[in-house]
C-alpha cells in the first residue's frame, strides 16, 4: 500500500466545511467518479448491463438516478457520470468497464472534479447568484450542465434544501470563493 498523502481540491488534508448564516458548504472528497459513454448504437446494451449488475438506470437529459451505493447523472448525449463512495470504489472506472465491456468507453474522472454540497433553506437564493439554471424549479434528482463563476459545472439537486455543484478541480478555489461570496449575500 502506498503512503502518498492525498490532498483535497481546496488543498487541505481533510475536507473543508463552511457555515454562513443558514447555508453550509461542504467540500465532498469521498466520491469516486467515472464517465460512461455508450459506443455507437450500444446505449441499450450499456443500460442493460448496468441495470442487470448494479441496478442502475441511466437517466434522461437533465436527470439523475441512483441505486445505492451508485448514483449517476446525465452529462451528454449517451454519456453519464457515475459516482460511488471512494473508499469502497476507488477503481470505479475499472469496475464499470468490467460491467459494460465493449459497449461503452469508461474514463476515470474522480480527480477531474471538485464537488461542493450546499445545504440550507437559502440554497436556491445562493445558486440564483451563481448560475442561470432554473434552480427553483429543479426537482430532487435533477442535474443540469451549466456555468457558474465562468466555469463549466453540474448542478445536482440532492434534496429540497441541498444542491451539489461539481466543477473543474483546478478551479476549486475560485468556485469555492464564489460560493462563499454568494452565501454571504444571502445570509
Amino acid at each position: 500500500m502506498h503512503k502518498l498523502k492525498p490532498i483535497t481540491p481546496l488543498g487541505g488534508a481533510t475536507r473543508r466545511q463552511d457555515t454562513i448564516g443558514a447555508v453550509t458548504i461542504t467540500e465532498v472528497v469521498d466520491q469516486a467518479l467515472a464517465s460512461v459513454a455508450a459506443r455507437n448504437g450500444q446505449a441499450k446494451a450499456v443500460q442493460r448491463a448496468l441495470t442487470d449488475q448494479i441496478g442502475l438506470t441511466l437517466p434522461d437529459v437533465g436527470k439523475a438516478a441512483d441505486a445505492a451505493p451508485f448514483a449517476t447523472f446525465w452529462m451528454g448525449t449517451e454519456q453519464w457520470m457515475v459516482t460511488a463512495p471512494y473508499d469502497s470504489h476507488e477503481l470505479l472506472a475499472a469496475e464499470l468497464k468490467q460491467i459494460v465491456g465493449d459497449s461503452a468507453s469508461v474514463v476515470e474522472q474522480t480527480d477531474g472534479w471538485c464537488r461542493f454540497d450546499v445545504a440550507g433553506a437559502a440554497v436556491c437564493d445562493l445558486f440564483e447568484r451563481m448560475s442561470n439554471a432554473p434552480v427553483r424549479s429543479m426537482a430532487t434528482g435533477e442535474a443540469i450542465r451549466t456555468t457558474a463563476e465562468h466555469l463549466g459545472v453540474f448542478l445536482w439537486r440532492l434534496a429540497d434544501d441541498r444542491i451539489a455543484i461539481l466543477g473543474p478541480r483546478s478551479s476549486a478555489g475560485s468556485l469555492h470563493h464564489g460560493l462563499l461570496a454568494a452565501a454571504k449575500s444571502v445570509a
Binding site: P6, S105, Q109, G112, R129, P134, H150, P168, S170, A182
Partner: protein, 984 residues
C-alpha cells in the same frame, strides 16, 4: 434660507427623522422622503446647474425621468455622480453635493456661457472649432472635454460589492402601478410564477401620488392591501427598488436591484446592487406614462415643474415647492394639482389653460386660452408673465409653476428591439406599435390607457391573456373601482415667439436649436438628435423628445408621426459600471486554475505566471539569487547535467476511446496514427482546415481502442472543441468517444540524464525502465510508491532523457514532494516555465510563438509529416501552391555573430547588405533566450528558404528602437541535434 414647505399627510414616517447635508448645509427629512422631496420640504428649489449654459435648475419631475436635479451622492470611493435627487432615497447621514458649478451652486462662474448662448447654439462645436485644423486635438478638444460633463468621480476604488444573478418566471410584471398590481394579483392568484418589479421603493405608481384615484378606498390603502397579499404568495417575488433596464432576446430582461442604496453603507458582505437577468415566459410592461412639459420663454427656472410631480410631492411626500403655485396646462388632469394644493392650504393664484373652453375650478381663477410668455427669478421662480386671451398680459407672483402638456406612455422597454411606436390621435401621444420583444405585452398608461380604471382593468386582462398563452387558467382579480375621467387635452407644445424655450433641459436644447437644425437641413429625427444633442443626456430625453418632434413637425408642415420618433435603447436609466461588473473585479475577474503542485511551489517561493487561467511556476528562486536569469540558468544547467522536475499538468489531456479511435486520430492529425503500436507515443501535428498548423502534442496508445491525446496548454480547449466538432459533425459514423482528463491527472516532466535513476526510486520495481524495455516514446500504465496507479510516458520537450509521469491529481502534491525527496541525491531541481522555454528553444521545438496561426507544417520543417497516404483536416489546402514555394519561410536557429550580442525576439531579418524595409524582409524571430549551455543568446525564427541558408549572416533589425544585430543562420537544434540524449 430654509423654509418649511412640509405639508400634512403623505406616505412619510414622521417618527423617523433623517438628517442629511446638501452642499454642506444640514437639513432633515423623514423616512420615505427622496432627496428632492426633503429638499423641497426644506424650501430648497435650486439643486443643480444645466449642462451647457450652467442655468440654475431645480427638479422638474418626481421620478426617474428627471433631467435637472442631478447631484453627487456620497464621497470618496462611493461618490456617485449624476444621481437623480428625485429617486435618491433619503437615509440618515446622506451627503449630497451639487455638480457642474464653480465655486458654488448659487454663484457659478461658468454661468457666463448663458450670456453667450447666441454663439453656443446647436452645432457650434462643428462650426466654431474647425480651424485651424491642428488646434482641434491640442487645444479645442482638451478645453471642451474639461468643460463638458456633469458630475465627477474621485478615482478611488468603489469599496462596495455588487452581485449578479438569474431569475426565472412565467410572468414578469414591470411597474407596480394600478396596471402592474392588477396583473400581479391576477397572475399570483392563478398560481403562476410572478416577478413584480418597480424602480420605486414604494409600490403603487400614481396610486400613491393621487388623492381619490379610487372611489371606495384610498390608493395607498389599496396598494398596502395588494402588496400584503402578494407578499404572502410563495409564487410571487416582489422586487421594489428594481429597475428593469433592458428587454433582450427570448424574453430575457436586465434589471438592477438597489439592495443598499438606501443605506449609508451596505451591510458587511452584502451587495450594494444586484444585476438580475430575468428569464420570463411573458413580460408585461406596465410602466405608466411620463408627463410632458410645455416650451415657453425661460421655462427652466427652479420652481417650474411638471404638474403631476408637484401633485406627487404634495400627496405622497407632503412637500410643496412653494407656498404659491401657478398651474399652466392644456388639459384637465393638471387642474387636479391646483385642487390638491389648495386642499393643503397652498395658494394657487391662477390656472393658465391654453384651452379656450377649459373648465372652471373652484377656489382659483382659470385663465382660459392664455399662455405663459415669460418668467422671472434668477435662482428660483418669482413670477410668470401671462398672455391673456384678451390680448393683454398679466404678471402672476408665484414661486412655483406646475405645468402639463399632457402625458406620454412610457415606451422605453417596448422599443428595445427596434419596435416602432405608433401615433394615437385620441391622446396625442405615441403608443406601442408592432415589433414588441417576443413575449412582451403592454398594459395601463404605457399602452395609452390613461385612466386608473382602464389601467386596472387592462392590467388584469393582460395577465389573463398572458397566462392563457402559457396554458395557466386565470380569472381577473377583483379590482377596486375608479371613476376618473379620461384626460381631456388639446395639443399644445410650445408658446410661439419665445426666444429661449427649453425642450431638453439636461442638454440645454431649446426650440430655437430645433429651428436651427431645420434651417440647416438636419430634418430627419436622427439628424436632429445628433445635431442638437436632444435626448442624448443621461435621461435619454424622456421629457423632451416628443416636444422637439412636435416643433420639427410644425416647421416641416408634417404631422408628428410623419416626422418619426427616435429609438430607445437599453439601459432605460443609467446602470452603474460596478453593478454590470458584479463580483468579477480585480483578482476575481476570472477564475484561476491551480496546478497540483501549487501549494508545494508556493512553499518554494516560486514566482508564478498566468498562462490562460493557470497559475504556473515561472522559476524557483533560491537564496542569493537576485535576478531571474540566475534562477533560470541554474534550473536549465542542473536539469541538463542531472535532473529537473516540472509540473506539466496544464497540458491538455483528452481521452479518446472507441472502435474507430485510431482512424479518428488519423483524421485530426496530419501524420498517421493507425499503425502506432499499443504502448507507444507519437508526436502529432494538427492543421486547421486551411492547412495552417495550429497545435502539436502527443498521442499515447494505451490500448487498441484507447488513446490519450495531449495538447498545448493554451489550445487545450480549442483542440477538444475541434475534436468534438469532427466527431459530432464531420464523422458521426465513427465510433469514438472523447472526454477531457486534464484535471484528473497530475503530470510531471522528469528530465535530465539522471531522470531514469530518479524514477527507478519511485516506480514500483516490477516495472522495468531500462532503455530496452521502456525506450524513447514508450508509454504504459504502472504503479508508483508501492501501488498507486500511474501513467508513464517517455517523451521529452527538453531534449534530455526524459519522462512524464502522471498520478491521480489528489496525489500530485505528494508525488512532487516524493520526487524532490528521492532526487536529493542527484541535486534534482524543480524548473519553471522559463527554463522549460529555454530548453525547448535550445532543442528547436516549436511552441505557440512558432505555431502562430500563419505557419504551415512546411514552414516548421515538418512538411513530411503531412501524410499523403490518408485524408486529414487541412491536408488538401496545405498543398496549395502558394504555401509550397521554394522560398517559403523555414524554421531555423539564429545565433549572434558576436557572442556578446542578444537576439531580440520579434525583430525582422534583412540580408546583410541592402535596404531595410518590408519589401526586403527575409523573415522574423519568433523565440529568443539566453542559453546557459551555449553561453550565448539564441533564437528561433522563420527565414525565406532558410533550410538552404545555413551559415549565412543576416541583419536582425528593430527599426523602431534602432536595434541591429548580425546573426548567423544555424540549425534550430542547438542541443543534441541527433537526439542521442533523449534516446539514451
Amino acid at each position: 434660507m430654509t423654509r418649511n414647505n412640509r405639508l400634512k399627510g403623505g406616505l412619510i414616517n414622521r417618527d423617523t427623522s433623517l438628517n442629511f447635508t446638501f452642499d454642506g448645509n444640514s437639513y432633515s427629512g423623514f423616512e420615505g422622503d427622496t432627496l428632492a422631496s426633503a429638499l423641497l420640504a426644506n424650501g430648497v428649489r435650486l439643486m443643480g446647474r444645466s449642462f451647457k449654459y450652467h442655468r440654475p435648475r431645480g427638479p422638474l419631475t418626481a421620478g426617474s425621468e428627471e433631467p435637472n436635479a442631478l447631484v453627487e451622492l456620497r464621497s470618496g470611493g462611493r461618490q456617485e455622480p449624476n444621481t437623480r435627487a428625485t429617486v435618491a432615497e433619503l437615509y440618515d447621514g446622506l451627503d449630497a453635493k451639487s455638480q457642474n458649478r464653480w465655486p458654488s451652486l448659487e454663484r457659478d462662474v461658468m454661468a457666463i456661457n448663458d450670456r453667450f448662448s447666441n454663439f453656443l447654439t446647436a452645432g457650434f462645436y462643428y462650426k466654431t472649432f474647425m480651424w485651424p485644423k491642428a488646434f482641434w486635438e491640442k487645444l479645442y478638444e482638451p478645453i471642451i472635454r474639461k468643460a463638458a460633463g456633469l458630475g465627477s468621480l474621485t478615482g478611488e476604488d468603489d469599496p462596495d460589492l455588487y452581485d449578479k444573478g438569474f431569475l426565472h418566471c412565467d410572468l414578469l410584471v414591470i411597474g407596480a402601478g394600478p396596471a402592474g398590481l392588477a396583473a400581479a394579483l391576477t397572475a399570483g392568484r392563478a398560481g403562476a410564477q410572478v416577478i413584480l418589479a418597480d424602480e420605486d421603493f414604494h409600490l403603487g405608481g400614481r396610486l400613491i401620488a393621487e388623492t381619490g384615484a379610487l372611489t371606495d378606498i384610498s390608493g395607498a390603502d389599496w396598494v398596502t392591501q395588494a402588496q400584503a397579499e402578494l407578499a404572502s404568495m410563495d409564487n410571487v417575488r416582489l422586487m421594489p427598488r428594481t429597475t428593469v433596464f433592458g428587454a433582450y432576446d427570448h424574453g430575457i430582461y436586465g434589471a438592477v436591484e438597489r439592495n443598499a442604496d438606501h443605506l449609508a453603507v451596505p451591510t458587511e458582505g452584502k451587495p450594494r446592487q444586484t444585476v438580475w437577468r430575468i428569464y420570463s415566459k411573458r413580460a408585461l410592461v406596465a410602466t405608466g406614462a411620463i408627463e410632458r412639459p410645455i416650451a415657453f420663454e425661460n421655462n427652466d427656472r427652479p420652481g417650474i415643474m411638471l404638474a403631476g410631480a408637484v401633485r406627487a410631492y404634495a400627496n405622497r411626500w407632503a412637500a410643496t415647492p412653494a407656498q404659491s403655485v401657478v398651474v399652466f396646462a392644456n388639459n384637465d388632469d393638471a387642474h387636479q394639482t391646483a385642487r390638491d394644493l389648495m386642499a393643503q392650504g397652498i395658494k394657487v393664484p391662477a390656472i393658465v389653460d391654453t384651452r379656450a373652453d377649459a373648465p372652471d375650478v373652484e377656489g382659483t381663477e382659470v385663465l382660459k386660452g392664455a399662455e405663459i410668455i415669460n418668467t422671472s427669478g434668477r435662482l428660483g421662480l418669482t413670477s410668470v408673465q401671462v398672455q391673456l386671451a384678451e390680448g393683454y398680459t398679466r404678471d402672476l407672483y408665484c414661486e412655483a409653476l406646475a405645468m402639463s402638456g399632457g402625458w406620454n406612455p412610457n415606451l422605453g422597454l417596448t422599443c428595445h428591439q427596434r419596435g416602432r411606436p405608433i401615433w394615437n390621435a385620441d391622446i396625442h401621444a405615441f403608443v406601442p406599435g408592432d415589433g414588441l420583444p417576443v413575449g412582451q405585452i403592454v398594459a395601463g398608461a404605457a399602452n395609452g390607457e390613461m385612466t386608473t380604471d382602464a389601467a386596472l382593468k387592462s392590467g388584469a386582462a393582460a395577465a389573463v391573456s398572458a397566462l392563457d398563452d402559457l396554458g395557466i387558467p386565470a380569472t381577473q382579480a377583483e379590482l377596486p373601482t375608479a371613476k376618473d375621467a379620461p384626460v381631456s387635452l388639446s395639443p399644445f407644445w410650445h408658446v410661439k415667439g419665445a426666444k429661449r424655450a427649453w425642450l431638453d433641459y439636461q442638454n440645454d436644447v431649446t426650440v430655437k436649436d430645433v429651428k436651427l437644425a431645420h434651417q440647416e437641413n438636419f430634418i430627419s429625427v436622427e439628424h436632429l438628435k445628433r445635431y442638437t444633442t436632444l435626448g442624448m443626456a443621461t435621461d435619454q430625453g424622456k421629457t423632451s423628445n416628443i416636444g422637439a418632434l412636435a416643433v420639427m413637425a410644425e416647421l416641416t408642415g408634417k404631422s408628428i408621426p410623419e416626422t418619426g420618433s427616435t429609438i430607445f435603447r437599453p439601459p432605460y436609466t443609467p446602470v452603474s459600471m460596478g453593478a454590470l461588473a458584479g463580483r468579477a473585479v480585480g483578482r476575481d475577474f476570472h477564475p484561476t486554475r491551480l496546478t497540483p503542485s501549487h501549494k508545494w511551489a508556493e512553499e518554494q517561493d516560486a514566482v508564478f505566471v498566468e498562462v490562460g487561467n493557470w497559475m504556473r511556476a515561472q522559476w524557483f528562486p533560491r537564496k542569493g539569487e537576485i535576478h531571474w536569469r540566475q534562477s533560470v540558468d541554474r534550473e536549465v544547467l542542473q536539469t541538463r547535467s542531472s535532473v529537473g522536475v516540472c509540473d506539466v499538468t496544464t497540458l491538455g489531456k483528452i481521452d479518446v476511446q472507441g472502435a474507430n479511435a485510431a482512424a479518428f486520430l488519423n483524421k485530426i492529425y496530419a501524420n498517421g496514427f493507425a499503425k502506432l503500436p499499443v504502448g507507444k507515443v507519437r508526436y502529432g501535428l494538427m492543421l486547421r482546415e486551411d492547412g495552417v498548423a495550429y497545435d502539436d502534442g502527443t498521442a499515447a496508445r494505451l490500448a487498441e481502442d484507447h488513446f490519450v491525446v495531449t495538447t498545448t496548454t493554451a489550445n487545450a480547449v480549442l483542440v477538444y472543441r475541434n475534436m468534438e466538432f469532427v466527431r459530432q459533425c464531420l464523422c458521426p459514423e465513427m465510433d469514438v468517444q472523447l472526454i477531457s482528463t486534464t484535471e484528473a491527472w497530475a503530470q510531471y516532466a522528469v528530465a535530465g540524464p539522471n531522470s531514469r535513476k530518479l524514477l527507478q526510486k519511485i516506480v514500483d520495481p516490477e516495472f522495468d525502465l531500462s532503455n530496452e524495455v521502456f525506450p524513447f516514446m514508450a508509454c504504459g500504465e504502472i504503479t508508483v510508491c508501492g501501488g498507486l496507479r500511474a501513467r508513464l510516458f517517455r517523451i521529452s520537450f527538453s531534449g534530455e532523457l526524459a519522462y512524464e509521469i502522471a498520478v491521480p491529481t489528489r496525489y500530485g502534491d505528494a508525488l512532487m514532494r516524493k520526487l524532490m525527496e528521492a532526487g536529493e541525491e542527484f541535486d534534482a531541481v524543480p524548473y519553471g516555465t522559463e527554463a522549460l522555454g529555454v530548453m525547448r528553444i535550445e532543442k528547436g521545438h516549436a511552441a505557440g510563438n512558432e505555431l502562430n496561426g500563419t505557419t504551415s507544417a512546411l514552414n516548421l520543417g515538418l512538411g513530411r509529416m503531412v501524410s499523403t497516404k490518408k485524408d486529414c483536416i487541412g491536408n488538401v489546402l496545405s498543398r496549395r501552391e502558394g504555401m509550397n514555394t521554394p522560398d517559403a519561410l523555414a524554421l531555423v536557429g539564429l545565433k549572434p555573430v558576436d557572442a556578446k550580442d542578444a537576439v531580440p525576439a520579434g525583430g525582422h531579418l534583412m540580408n546583410k547588405d541592402g535596404p531595410i524595409d518590408a519589401a526586403h524582409d527575409q523573415g522574423y524571430v519568433t523565440s529568443a533566450a539566453y542559453s546557459p549551455i551555449l553561453n550565448s543568446s539564441i533564437g528561433l525564427g522563420f527565414v525565406k528558404g532558410g533550410f538552404d541558408r545555413k551559415g549565412e549572416h543576416l541583419r536582425l533589425v528593430n527599426p523602431l528602437e534602432g536595434q541591429e544585430v548580425l546573426v548567423e543562420i544555424v540549425s534550430a537544434h542547438f542541443v543534441d541535434p541527433e537526439g542521442e540524449k533523449l534516446r539514451a
